[in-house]
Amino acid sequence: MFKPHFAALLLIALCARAEEKTPGNIENAARATVGITITPKQDGWEKSLTGTSGDFESFLNRKKSITLSGFLIAPDRVLIRDPMLEPGEIAEINVSAGTQSVKASVEAFLIDSDGARLALAAPLTSAQAAPPAPGAAPAAALFTQKRGDDEQIFVSTKPFDAAKRLFADGIWRIDFSSPTQIQRADGSIFGYAAQSSLPLSALTPERADPARWPGFTPQALETRQGELLTLARQHILPVTFTFRPPKDEKEDRYSYRYRGSSESGKIPEDATEGSLTGMLLTDTRMIVPYAFPRKQLARLEGINVLIGGKTVKATYVATLTAFEGTVLELTEAHPEAVLPIETDPPADLHALHFLVAVDGITTGDYRARIHRTRIDSLSRSWRNTLTPSISGVSDRKGLIFSNAGRCRWVSVEVKEKRDTFGRSYNWNSSNSITIPAATFASFAHPADADINPAIQPLAKEDEQRLGWIGIDLQPLDRALAEANNVTIPTRSGSFGGIVSLVYPGSPAEQAGVEPGWVLTRLLPSGQTLPSELSVEKSESYMREFPWEQLDEIPAQYFDRLPAPWPTFNTPFRAQLTDSLGIGASFTAEFFVNGTRELKALTVAAAPAWFGNARTFNWKRAGIETADLTLDVREYLNLDAEAPGVVIKRIRQGGVAAQAGVKPYELIVKVEGQPVADVAAFEKAIEGKSNVKLTLSRMAKERVVSITPASEDPAPEAEKNGADE
């Protein structure tokens, strides 16, 4: 299986010659060099597929043989880098030198450094074991190996100069990969290292002897993983959220639906129940690392947390903006379930850590797995915290525990900063990062700046409430920017919108905003950089409503007929609602005839619109009516006092449909008396066996006589074609 390679030996010699000036003896390192081939198990692929990140390509990669290099540290012991395979995944290990090849098994997965010790089935005589020789530090050179794809082994060396390479923290940083042999200047072996950061304190004969390094036997590792998984499950708690069913949104069928903040889509937005996991960080405060879209959280009914087999109720506190997280408050204290957190930095980066990932959640329980992992490096990044770069697992989302069983890092989703405002789509908006557990825990009591006030549970009637400032906007383009003298401030109309309408009594009107002004940017309070306003063209799909053909449209198509008036729920208003929230204040930048004008505005609750207007469903006549809201009045050129209700839905085959009543007509009078709203309409028709309704279609009126069915009808029968 493993053939000798003379070329490899030659390369060793060449390297040695090139590095003639290096202290130490490369021959000594080369003679102790062995090649290792690890064959993973070929069965159990289902386990591998579901156990890892689950993508087939990574499964195939794992199934390839792994080739490594190592040092023979005793005649039957080899030091290698940790191959990062679970013990159960290893089928066979072969260690070879020259023409000789022997089988081996893992004696220990090292705890404090990134290595493993192999025990050989028979001594390997082709190589020369190089155990540490007694004697004094300091050492003179480091030798490391690298194995190429065609099974060549390169041995390279670096001079070891304590004075030059010592960092302030007393840790050596060396560029070699594990493992590394440390020689004295005379070529004798001082010891080994299995990490790229080498504390000076390791340069003692004891710490440099790999035979003494603590490790887990494969069996002990599995036992330890099992223990830690049990521990983790006690602190990663299943949380079940329940929601009201969403309201039907017929009027929005033809408009863009604003996508909420979450892209991971763990829970469908119209779901009525969803289970996730969260961590208790104080006796009562917990964070679920997930942010619900505003519309979904508005429907929140209840939260249950499962702690030690017991269901504990929780209440919603806030949704974080710092990262995707929902803060909850338990109704009772559970100190025993608080997540143990490691605040001290790791003694050695490469020490054994365990990543706990939750795969799937069913009500009250979940499936989790644990992987041993090693930290490659730490860097200061998100909010100046030390975030690790980890190896050994393809799916890096989860909680990372130290071998001592304390949580050190938590992975969370962070939303990318946006510099535009008003878009309905927000591509690749989040990004997974791993933050220190202590930092994560500090958000259990978040500062105001770190929460999104827009995301709140709402009463059913307020669920579809929108925020507004009371303007309609027309998107700017190059020509309009020029005509409005805003070419420079809007980069030739690449952002911004013309105020086409200012609604009476709205915040914009009170602030003195006028039609024709150009809105360019918004600066929410607390934010340092303004967002450029992006106005979407929302009318491209909107054709003229077929008023003239309304009588010819068969009843079965009524439900597909989009409302004649433009949707009130524009991306701009949706984002005012979702990102800023009702009550939030901001500064708006306008241009009036080319002159900049700043206005302080507050997002107000918009008045009812066609989509969330009060309705009355007159089932016996088969019509659903809605209040005349401002968007409908604007379209029909009706003043605020004009009476009437608008027909929102018609049941085909119903009494009203037979009477020729059409969708989006108005009922202006009942028995000759004007009706102000749906409540008045309901009262006016109550208990009547026959009513005369005055209908209005655009300006034309007519009277229909309705004899309501004697009882509420069964679900409607299918009606095909009028003339069959």
Partner: protein
């Protein structure tokens, strides 16, 4: 082309068969006799009219039919054949052809009265208008005219329905429905009874593939309108702005126990009726003392016609039932006036504009009672590039308000004058009820 020639051959063959050995008193004699009386008076009409539908002023050729009613050259055709015609040319069956003048047009009833420019002393054959009052379903009729431009065509059928109400097409007149084939080009031609009298003016067909029906304006109503056209050059309809609804309306599943009168469905905005005491739901039982009966929808055109033909100078007295109360309402009607807007083309902008008219564009009238809107957008053209769309109401140009075609014309002229300074016009429009701005860049000149 090939298809057309096959059709023609078939027509000739049938004609040959009909002529062969006709026995005496055969029904074919009846048809032939009727035809012989009217066919010489049938005209094949070709007009060149101004059209602005496609965003520019361009000439459009329209073909139709007509029939002469006097030896001096008076003839009847449809309003939609000769409307906006620059020239009218007519071909007689005997091969003579003359230009013609329009004496009067009434768009509301789709009738027009014209006259051939006959040389001094020359006369033409003419047809006699019969009465349509006695017609009943099953009566044999022939239609004469030029369907698809094929003149001297005769089609034959029966009266399928003598009183047809067509929603949206029956303001003042009920229709004669016939299964004699009526195609495009038959418009204005006569529908003739077996006596050889004109009993209808063919005006509407159906383009549906299996539909075998055409519609004609009954001769009695046509005669009434023609008299007005001859006298005034137009019909002086008066207008109250009332909308009538029958007592029994099957299509709307609405029935009344009342046996007389007609419902007032509603009044139109800014109309004499809207300002009066008339209310939707009132039951009108008499107009100027004359009892009205609006039991079914078929009765409505005659009612509307009678009220419409009352003088707009005199008050109209409506007697009505409101619940159990008898109420009298008096109102002064207005002259109905134009039923369509005026048009104008704006060459360099590449669109045509039209004035808002309450009868033609009620949905625009709802938003602006006086104003102009984009009628046609030329393709390719500057307006089209700027995404100006049909039915956009133009409210201002370069921030100067626009209410009339004259305003628009002045703005167009001004824009062209200062063309060296800027070649862009900022237009504010109302589209679908919402205001918006449009920048019309007219730097480019499109050749037409």
């Amino acid at each position: 082309m090939k298809k057309k020639s096959i059709l023609l051959t078939a027509v000739l063959l049938t004609a040959a068969l009909l002529r062969a050995e006709a026995p005496a008193h055969d029904f074919r004699d009846v048809i032939a006799a009727a035809r012989a009386k009217v066919q010489p008076a049938v005209l094949y009409v070709k007009c060149v009219r101004d059209s602005m539908e496609r965003g520019t002023l361009h000439a459009q050729e329209v073909a139709g039919s007509a029939f002469l009613i006097s030896p001096g050259g008076e003839f009847v055709t449809n309003a939609h054949v000769v409307n906006k015609a620059r020239s009218v040319r007519c071909l007689l069956s005997d091969g003579r052809h003359f230009d013609a003048d329009i004496l009067g047009i009434d768009k509301s009833t789709d009738l027009a009265l014209c006259k051939l420019r006959l040389p001094e002393g020359e006369s033409v054959p003419f047809a006699r208008l019969g009465t349509s009052a006695g017609l009943s379903e099953g009566d044999f009729v022939i239609a004469l005219g030029a369907p698809w431009g094929m003149n001297r065509t005769l089609t034959f059928g029966t009266i399928s329905c003598a009183q047809r109400y067509l929603e949206g097409h029956s303001e003042y007149v009920l229709w004669l429905q016939t299964d004699a084939s009526i195609g495009p080009g038959n418009s204005g031609g006569p529908l003739v009874n077996t006596e050889g009298e004109v009993i209808g003016v063919n005006a509407l067909g159906s383009m549906l593939p299996t539909a075998n029906f055409g519609f004609a304006i009954p001769s009695d109503e046509a005669g009434l309108i023609l008299g007005q056209l001859r006298e005034h050059g137009q019909v002086n309809w008066s207008w109250c702005g009332i909308q009538l609804q029958p007592l029994n309306d099957f299509n709307r599943n609405t029935f009344s126990t009342a046996t007389n009168g007609v419902f007032l469905a509603g009044t139109l905005p800014n109309s004499p009726a809207r300002g009066s005491d008339l209310r939707a739901g009132d039951r009108i039982i008499s107009v100027n003392g004359k009892a009205v009966n609006g039991l079914t929808e078929e009765t409505l055109p005659a009612l509307r016609r009678e009220i419409g033909l009352l003088s707009s100078d005199a008050e109209i007295v409506f007697e009505l039932m409101r619940g159990d109360d008898r109420v009298t309402v008096t109102l002064s009607p207005k002259a109905k006036g134009a039923v369509e807007g005026e048009e104008k083309a704006f060459d360099r902008w590449d669109f045509t504009a039209k004035t808002i008219n309450r009868f033609e564009t009620p949905e625009l009238f709802l938003r602006r009672e006086t104003g102009v809107y984009v009628f046609g957008v030329a393709y390719p053209g500057n307006a089209q590039n700027a995404d100006l769309r049909e039915k956009d109401i133009i409210t201002s140009i370069n921030n100067r308000p626009i209410a009339t075609l004259t305003d628009l014309e002045a703005a167009h002229t001004a824009a062209l004058e200062k063309q060296s300074a800027t070649r862009k016009t900022l237009i504010s429009v109302i589209r679908n009820g919402r205001p918006r701005q449009i920048v019309l860049d007219f730097a480019r000149e499109y050749e037409r």
